[in-house]
Symmetry: C2
Subunit: 675 residues, 2 copies
């Protein structure tokens, strides 16, 4: 080791020796730490504190309800306190309740919880949020929180107690612990606390947070009482609980040698092969053998006796053996239909022109943690068109309202060239402009937030490129809609001219020549030369939609065409299957119809009904065609290449079917994106 | 309390009851928490981990040296380890050393340290950085760190030991603890650890971090050995240790009732008046009385017997009583001269055209914590001009390399309209373009970082507006330089024409007419009508500069002018005071000269010498004038309004002195900024 032997100056009178410094060295409790670093938890202003507290409590309530299999019923009330800047916040749920003796730690101790050690998707994972909320409330009002809870297995008795957090020791201080009868309540938890705050409305507000929560949690009912006493209700859009995410074992990929050391020391298994097979996910008998033979470690070796060298070789071997990606039932994405349903349910007041089909990507992993990216775009109508698009960011179904500049989702949005998809963007970089709302959701067993405040997702390349891809797939659908609308309006204009002027001319000529008026239909068809598909939708009842597609052959030959649509399959009924043109529907709900030999200048109609919760999520415009040159069809786009089912090939003699451009663009952009 | 009495659905087979959930509730150790949330500490990639580790160790070393009053001498060595992606990192300092029994906790336990509870500026405050570095090294290599330390008060014995962090319990695990003789080392600490990493060069690298550290710590000597064995040395630019920041008591402003409760419970004082007076800063006898009478609390009341109501009234009263801002000797800003010196020392290779006079703002407070903002701008020369300006962000003299998008400093830079100050900027918003480097430094007792990784400063309005103001004051100096250069070059061109063509014409005319050549000096003066000030500088020796100002009266009347310059006052000597034009110098080093009645078409010279470390930080161009219409002077700008000393008023009959525009602009912009 080198040394610095430069002569040093004697310390000044204020300077400290090692001994004096040692006297100052001491433990810092995690509560003291966060008390002094409020901004890390997102409690850096009165305004934010008020929102953060509600958020932490509601996140916990939703998690608890889902874990217990109850459709969440949440009440949020924000009332005024004794001082001008004091608020009384109350959040109640219908979750399973909390066992009496656990209540103090859950609400009065930081870094304490049930979800941290479990590898599955949940909102709260840190065990910090609600106890920090209560701690800050204590600090700024001097008042403890009131917690009440009733479980189903406590003979109808509910408990309530006052809880404060001792910031020096990070332990709960409980007063007034008592049993009580909670009238009319079967089970659930309520928490009431006083806190200094500033109540605001607008883009970063409790209302906005709850509204966005309702979008991605369409199975929840949320009732909000604001400080003026006004009540807002976000009704459930579906009775369907999201499938409960399953807990998984750690995946060997991305594991560090120190992790492996600890697992090996803690395992109950007697030999290393059984240890690898049973304590990790995706390690089969064969894979365990392969890892151990590559590592040169005997399968019978005792896990707790492995040397650092053995473990190092095992880690290396894991890097060379092909192991299946982690199972993904630990994740519970929202799903394409429910994203659309949620958006429609909450944003309907804006009367958007189009909800692009949302995208749910296949799972990927980052540092061994599986994640899924979902995206949606809402366009037009009364969405403001004069500024940047609105971005809705979500992580494990929780809205992220702050720190958008630090979030990988924002970065991914800014790197897409939105000009290709019909939105304005200066220089093809940055947040686009126009009448659109962009939704991005990450679902993961471990969302890598940039801080405990859970306001922004850290920039991992794996996540950024998935968000980018999801956005572009969704944007492609928007672009195809915009293209269709443009072509349609142009052809409409042409039609009007041809159908008004030609007959006029014919009439005038016939009159002048004293001849009969000729039949112009073939002439018009010859000029138009399109198969026209005209969708329309009727709403005879709340959850019922009748879809009608008029198909007009404005060409001079008989035409055949296949039609394809992705239907919400829970909503289809006999009217679909009994339609004479119906061919088939796969298990995803992708249906096919075929109209064969439609004569020139004739038309027909395809009609079916959708009935159910999700009936309104199907957009009549989302119809695709195959078996015909798409350039010849107005009102439907060619079946996309990634549709998953094969369309009919074109048998006619016209120009070859030219695949839509965007497909190749995406491939090309993807190559760029990977660099 | 309301209740939700909606009938609930029975739980599904995977659903959990409150009892089952309770079984999962448990404590989470802070080490486990950070192990799973590496990105919060900034250890989210192999590349960043390597830099973060060096940063944490060097920050600690600099703090320790300064606290003990030693000029820091730091050695950083990054070597290759046994695997391709393994590195061996070694950092050594000449600090006071660490007392033997404290070593394990300092290096092997998170949230343990000496600086967290002290209200004074220091780099490390969390007690997380170095122990987390060692923990991640343990986890990814399985190897403990080696720590060695020698204190001056241990009879020449040094100690070394191997330390690992037990991530389950957050406690150090020590092996091989032994005394040894550290040859040639008087005192200091060395730490060596193995870690997985990726060594890179460029904008986010260990080299860049050390380079930027050298800029804002010109009193430190840093030696860096890279993995190829190359050695880089950042020599000390000054032998001046920064004044040691003093510890202060908490300031009453911004205090929460919970804080006051705890202080009151813990105080040793027997009555509330003595408690307020002695336990807080800036509370005088009179202020304590005022607070207590406003609050209606008896001064003799026992602090630990105060009710919540009493405390609440005291907190309210504190909000109404005027209390002096916290003392600022707890802060140690770099200072204008040393910022310039540091920048010149490290950036000289780029031969910048101009170092704008740095700005050190007066202290402000945010949440009761005092802070100071400093800014500097370097312009031109070989600084790349084709992209965005380079931004150097610092907090308590530590460079911030990551998360610039999330940092309030970046936001403040982006909100300045740089087009007013001579830099390109699209639409007057965003990071400007051009050949410039912008430095921003925040010094505070508690820098509000957005996360424990200390990569970005949270967005507090108070900080943002101070950064904004510091930048604009500094930018105004840059703009004044650019204006001067432009006017100078234009006038130079005019001069050349007048001085070459007029004599030519005169010669030719005289020749043709057979007359003598007329004296043109008065004619030329009449045309030019300026007082020309021509600065030049000689460097006769390393720390010596001779400044010369040629003053030419190219007008048709006698002229008087006062000259003003802000000199590094430690560098002035007799040559300054003995100069016949010298008038006075104040304690800041702001000097004034007066040249009276300089006759038309004559000139004179002002000469003085600067000698010392900081002699080169004075830019000959930074000379200001008063007592004359500045429109009539070439080579010096009017004395700025915020200069602090009064210039001479203009006595001549010319147009009134028109104050420079930027001053008012800043005031106007400030108004906007406050909204």
């Amino acid at each position: 080791m080198p040394s610095t032997d430069k002569p040093v100056k004697p310390a000044k009178d204020t300077a400290l020796t090692a001994k004096q410094l040692a006297a100052k060295q001491q433990e810092i409790s995690v509560t003291e730490f966060f008390e002094k670093n409020k901004q890390i938890l997102g409690f850096d202003s009165r305004q934010k504190s008020l929102i953060m507290g509600v958020k932490e409590a509601v996140d916990n309530s939703l998690d608890a309800c889902e874990e217990a299999g109850y459709l969440p019923d949440i009440i949020v009330r924000v009332g005024r306190g004794e001082d001008e800047d004091e608020y009384i916040v109350y959040i109640e749920d219908n979750g399973p309740g909390i066992v009496h003796k656990m209540i103090p730690n859950v609400f009065g101790r930081l870094l304490y919880g049930s979800r941290f050690h479990a590898l599955r998707q949940s909102r709260g994972q840190q065990g910090i949020g609600i106890s920090a909320t209560i701690m800050f409330g204590n600090i700024n009002t001097g008042k403890p929180a009131l917690v009440m809870s009733k479980t189903t297995d406590a003979d109808g008795v509910a408990w309530r107690m006052r809880i404060a957090v001792d910031t020096k020791t990070n332990r709960p201080v409980v007063t007034g612990d008592e049993a009580f009868i909670w009238e009319g309540k079967e089970h659930g938890t309520g928490v009431e606390y006083a806190t200094k705050g500033r109540y605001v409305t607008g883009r970063q507000s409790i209302f906005e947070y709850l509204k966005e929560t309702a979008i991605v949690n369409p199975h929840a009912r949320i009732e909000f009482h604001d400080p003026e006493g006004k009540v807002y209700l976000f009704e459930r859009a579906t009775e369907q609980l999201p499938p409960r995410s399953k807990e998984i074992k750690p995946h060997p990929e991305g594991m560090e040698i120190g992790d492996l050391m600890r697992y090996a020391a803690d395992t109950g298994h007697k030999n290393v092969k059984a240890f690898l097979k049973n304590d990790f996910s995706r390690v089969t008998d064969r894979i365990a053998d392969e890892i151990l033979s590559t590592a040169g470690v005997k399968p019978t070796a005792r896990p707790d006796k492995l040397t650092r060298e053995d473990l190092r070789e095992i880690i290396k071997a894991i890097g060379t053996v092909r192991i299946m990606a982690p199972p993904t039932d630990c994740l519970s994405p929202i799903g394409e239909t429910l994203i659309k349903k949620g958006l429609m349910h909450i944003l309907d007041g804006l009367r958007p022109e189009y909800y692009a089909t949302p995208v749910t990507r296949a799972p990927k992993t980052v540092n061994g943690n599986p994640f899924i990216i979902e995206a949606g775009i809402v366009y037009g109508g009364e969405i403001p068109s004069d500024g940047q698009v609105q971005i809705l960011r979500f992580a494990n179904r929780v809205p992220l309202l702050y720190q958008h500049g630090a979030c990988v989702m924002t970065k991914a949005i800014a790197e897409v060239d939105w000009r290709r998809y019909g939105l304005e963007q200066r220089g093809g970089k940055g947040i686009p402009y126009g009448p659109a709302i962009i939704l991005v959701h990450i679902a993961s067993t471990k969302v890598p937030f940039t801080s405990e405040g859970k306001e922004a997702v850290a920039s991992f390349d794996e996540i950024q490129s998935e968000v980018n891809l999801a956005l572009r797939l969704c944007a492609r659908n928007l672009k195809s809609h915009l293209n269709k609308m443009e072509r349609k309006s142009k052809t409409h204009a042409k039609f009007r001219i041809v159908q008004e002027i030609l007959p006029d001319l014919a009439n005038k000529s016939a009159e002048m020549l004293g001849r009969p008026v000729p039949d112009l239909s073939r002439t018009i068809s010859g000029i138009m030369n399109v198969v026209w598909i005209e969708p329309s939708v009727e709403k005879p009842a709340k959850n019922t939609r009748v879809l009608r597609y008029g198909i007009y052959n404005y060409t001079t030959q008989p035409r055949s065409v296949r039609l394809h649509a992705h239907l919400p399959k829970d909503c289809v009924n006999l009217t679909l299957f009994s339609n004479p043109y119906f061919v088939e529907m796969n298990e995803d709900g992708k249906a096919t119809w075929e109209v064969a030999g439609l004569q020139p200048s004739t038309d027909t109609e395809l009609v079916f009904e959708l009935k159910g919760d999700m009936a309104d999520t199907f957009d009549a415009d989302d119809i695709y065609i195959s078996g015909i040159n798409p350039m010849m069809v107005m009102g439907a786009e060619a079946l996309p290449g990634d549709w998953g089912i094969k369309g009919l090939e074109i048998v006619e003699s016209e120009d070859d079917y030219v695949r839509d451009e965007p497909e190749e663009e995406i491939a090309a952009e993807e190559d760029l994106g990977d660099e």
